[in-house]
Amino acid sequence: MTSLNFEAIFQSKIDDEVKIEPKDWMPDAYRKTLIRQISQHAHSEIVGMLPEGNWITRAPSLRRKLILLAKVQDEAGHGLYLYSAAETLGADRDDLVQQLLTGKAKYSSIFNYPTLNWADIGAIGWLVDGAAITNQVMLTRTSYGPYARAMVRICKEESFHQRQGYELMMAMAFGSPEQKSMAQDALNRWWWPALMMFGPHDAESTHSDQALKWKIKRKSNDELRQNFVDVTVPQAEYLGLTVPDPDLCWNEERGRYDFGKINWDEFWNVVKGNGPCNRQRIQARTKAYEDGAWVREAAMAHAEKKEQRRMQPEAASKAA
């Protein structure tokens, strides 16, 4: 069979909603696109622990601290589900980590913004996880089996993340005037970066067409962004907070919200490494990786020694 035939069979499986599994034939570009997308997603989960980790020791109550710890632990877990999904495509874990540390691989730009006040933790759960869920619910139906299965697991867990964030925002928005102004400040700073999470407009998005044809993505960036705005604006109204967009208004005809222009210069600037926390994030990940190196090596050496003893109990006892 020629590779053209392979490709036709592959596309017909996609069109028929048959999932692609690790050992199935797939075009190189499909494999590469998936490794890039899944590993970027994994890196985002891992780097995403940092802005929230910043507040664990300063959470205002034991209840909030337990919730935040559980959420950050989930994010570590999500990163690991995704790294192993990427490995089913032949990627090497250590290579992927190196790509993050050297800046070759990107992660979601949202995590390059700082968490300045406690309400930011609420805003992250509500808006950042809310935007992530909009994207991830779509990805539970992505064409690659291991990625779709990881997403199902992640979506089940993300729902708690968003709800705890909104509950935190309620506590702040319905609290003292100072607390309410902290909540408004958090919304002001996180709203636009959250909208940028969906990526460039469809017309400017380089990978979109092919990703839609292969059903890696199932909805366009602009479609997902619009869905997010439509569900989130009423949630902000309930909190009595103002969305920082003077152009935001309900469009009766479309039955959807119109909203203002996104500052794409800011977006590309952060993507290129010049956001408020880009350097700090990579430094933190590099430090964790380097400080953990001796632990990984020692655990491997210990495992090998145990295995040797198991294989040759006599030789080991003589040597001892």
Partner: protein
Amino acid sequence: MKKEWPLWEIFIRSKSGLNHKHVGSLHAADAEMAIENARDLYTRRNEGVSIWVVESKHITASDPDDSDPLFEPARDKVYRHPTFYTVPDEVSHM
């Protein structure tokens, strides 16, 4: 010499009476650590009562390109299914 922890496939029994089911994979230095990591990674919300771990290199999988010859023999044996047989309406409990 730098050496990565090997990859393990994880199987979880979600409750007594059900099969262990593949849930994903993870890296660990040895089997004991693989079980501990699987506990933290795949059962944070009571998803399991038992864990199996198998080093990925020990799994042999069928080749998807051979699926047709491999599974074809079962395809034309319709008489293995109860619906192949007609039983009169007046006969019950069958």
